[in-house]
């Protein structure tokens, strides 16, 4: 048994526990360095993880994948975690208690995501999922002086538990039909069985519901606006990108590897859900007045776009998902970094309070605009390239209608994104005081903006990685 394959995960655990212990040992006033410590640790792990490309091995009898696909998603998660922890320092400090634990929980959530993206077997998958989710329950309810935070936590917990219940039920049915929980073996068993049995129909729908909850696909999306709004903003950011991306990784592995024989059925299912998700996400985002809520709906819509890559059910589609997922990390965290620093300064998340932000802090305004437009898929920002990858993977499979819906709605989404830009650029600020942005957050802002622009203009580097990831899944 080669445990070196698990280096990344082990390192992450050690980091988390190390920080936890250090946090307990040092006095309260000195704990504010812990955030940076976590960031540096995660960054090192991220750096190390590049060495794991091309291994394409499994550990524990096919139960745990260490392939390029999982590495890619782990890197995605690590990038998200690095950015979030770097950006969150001011916000967390303002939140008050348990400074160190916040970062520890974040790392644990990241660990859960990593396990999820590597899982080659249902039990591992389930535990990864739950580690991630339970960490998020805690993080969501972390803001002790804000009752909304607890409400979001309880909502997330109850709904999350229901959804994992139904996911489990689905998993159990698949296990019952195939007698195995290993994904690759499931495929073999199902291939022997041939036609689709009722249990598999129900099982698949339950799995769709379970994963659909995590990626917030309509009609399983309803928790996300409330939770996104109520959760502390760094958590929202991490939740929006990390949990979604990891769930997509697991979903892709389960459906593409385990159920390729039923792809006709689940593709149809996903196509319908994707269309609904895109439409409803974008439409409801329009009347929002709270920026976190607006971003929540927009992130629902984003999930819809990413689902198109799943529908393709081939390497091109996975490449699209991987590519889009990564740039979505930058766009979303960029946007939420603006939001968290803005609210750390002003205490507000209302869009109308962003009036004149362009003059109070040009950087915040510029980053928010760029990130939002990237989500809308406006060239030359990365979102455009991402959408191109996604939509080009399904257009020749007869899903032109979905492509048109996707593109139309993404252009319509510009309406509410630009409404924010309008407030920031056109209106005069009510309060002229400048916005304080700590160096770490500034770095995050610059990184996200530069990467978003750079990947839009020159997507080649990321597309190489995404290709590796996609191809490793189908080797």
């Amino acid at each position: 048994m080669d445990l070196s394959l698990l280096t990344i995960e082990i390192a992450t655990v050690l980091l988390a526990i190390g920080v936890l212990v250090i946090g307990l040992l040092i006095p309260r006033e000195q704990r504010f360095g812990l955030g940076y410590l976590v960031t540096i640790g995660l960054a090192i792990i991220l750096f190390v993880s590049f060495g794991y490309y091309g291994i394409n091995a499994t550990a524990f009898e096919g139960m745990y994948y260490v392939d390029d696909f999982s590495i890619f998603f782990k890197q995605l998660i690590l990038v998200a975690a690095v950015l979030v922890t770097l950006a969150a320092t001011l916000y967390v400090k303002k939140m008050g208690t348990n400074y160190g634990e916040f970062f520890v929980m974040t790392v644990f959530a990241a660990l859960g995501m990593m396990v999820l993206s590597s899982a080659g077997e249902f039990i591992t998958l389930y535990l990864g999922l739950e580690t991630m989710t339970i960490s998020f329950y805690i993080l969501t309810g972390f803001k002790k002086n804000d009752s909304k935070s607890a409400e979001a936590g309880i909502k997330y917990l109850i709904l999350g538990a229901m959804s994992s219940g139904i996911l489990l039920y689905g998993l159990s049915l698949v296990y019952g039909m195939t007698g195995t929980t290993v994904i690759s073996e499931v495929a073999v068993k199902l291939a022997e069985m041939g036609s689709l049995s009722p249990a598999m129909v129900v099982g698949m729908v339950f799995l769709v519901a379970g994963f659909g909850f995590k990626i917030s696909a309509v009609p399983f999306q309803m928790w996300s606006p409330d939770v996104y709004e109520g959760a502390p903003t760094p958590v929202t950011a991490f939740l929006a990108v990390g949990s979604k991306a990891a769930a997509f990784a697991a979903l892709i592995r389960v459906f593409m590897i385990a159920f390729p024989d039923y792809s006709l059925q689940w593709k149809m299912l996903f196509a319908a859900l994707a269309a609904l998700t895109i439409i409803i996400g974008n439409l409801v985002a329009i009347p929002q007045t709270n920026i976190k809520r607006m971003l929540a709906y927009s992130s629902i819509a984003q999930a819809g776009y990413i689902m198109t890559g799943v529908i393709a059910a081939n390497a091109a589609g996975v490449r699209g998902v991987a590519f889009y997922g990564m740039l979505y990390v930058f766009a979303t965290i960029g946007a939420f970094t603006v939001v968290m620093n803005f609210s750390a300064n002003t205490g507000s998340d209302e869009i109308r309070d962003y009036a004149g932000l362009a003059r109070r802090s040009p950087l915040l305004a510029a980053v928010l605009t760029v990130c939002l437009l990237s989500m809308a898929g406006i060239p030359p920002l990365a979102g455009f390239a991402g959408k191109f990858y996604l939509f080009s993977s399904i257009v020749d499979q007869g899903y032109l209608w979905l492509v048109i819906i996707g593109l139309l709605m993404s252009m319509a989404s510009v309406y509410y994104y630009l409404s924010v830009a309008k407030v920031m650029y056109m209106a005069d600020p009510v309060d002229d005081s400048p916005i304080v942005v700590p160096a770490g957050a500034k770095a995050v802002l610059l990184i996200t903006m530069i990467v978003t622009v750079f990947l839009g203009v020159y997507p080649q580097p990321l597309s190489v990685l995404a290709n590796l990831a996609a191809n490793s899944l189908f080797f």
Partner: protein, 164 residues
């Protein structure tokens, strides 16, 4: 065997239903314990002795105590009318019933790949072996998960000093 099954089934489901229907949250908790025990009995029928033991220890023991503590912390005095239905109970009923039907139809119409072999009499050994070899990753993850839950529960339940 048949009789035993039906008895256990009725007890389990009946107490589950009672748990749901009861308007006194404390009584509900008691019915829940009965249900858990019923499930433990079902495990025994399925030759899962270790599972049954875990069920009794964890569920009927630990989790029930958790829940009772929860109830005690959040309810003051009179326990009557503490566990009411909400306005949309009918809708919830319809959805649940639909799922019952779906499940039943699905179970009946599916050709399950049963082996027909006799089950092993002893499970603890194999479970232990599986846990420590093949399933060591989930095992470790579960450990971390419990740690997370521990820390988290402490952080969240801890009272904050009202500043300002």
């Amino acid at each position: 065997m048949n009789f035993m099954f039906w008895l256990i089934a009725i007890i389990t489901l009946g107490s589950a239903l009672m748990m749901v229907m009861n308007k006194n949250i404390f009584h509900s908790a008691l019915f829940m314990v009965v249900t858990f025990l019923g499930v433990a009995a079902v495990y025994l029928m399925l030759y899962a002795d270790f599972m049954a033991a875990v069920q009794v220890l964890v569920y009927a023991g630990a989790i029930t105590i958790f829940i009772v503590f929860g109830i005690m912390l959040t309810q003051r005095g009179n326990m009557k009318e503490t566990n009411l239905f909400s306005n949309h109970a009918a809708l919830a009923g319809i959805v649940s019933l639909a799922l019952v039907v779906i499940n039943a139809v699905m179970v009946v119409s599916t050709n399950w790949p049963k082996t027909g072999a006799e089950p092993p009499q002893e499970t603890v050994g194999s479970i232990a072996e599986l846990m420590l070899t093949k399933y060591v990753v989930p095992f470790e993850v579960a450990a971390i998960l419990l740690l997370v839950a521990l820390i988290g529960a402490v952080i969240i339940a801890k009272e904050v000093k009202k500043t300002s």
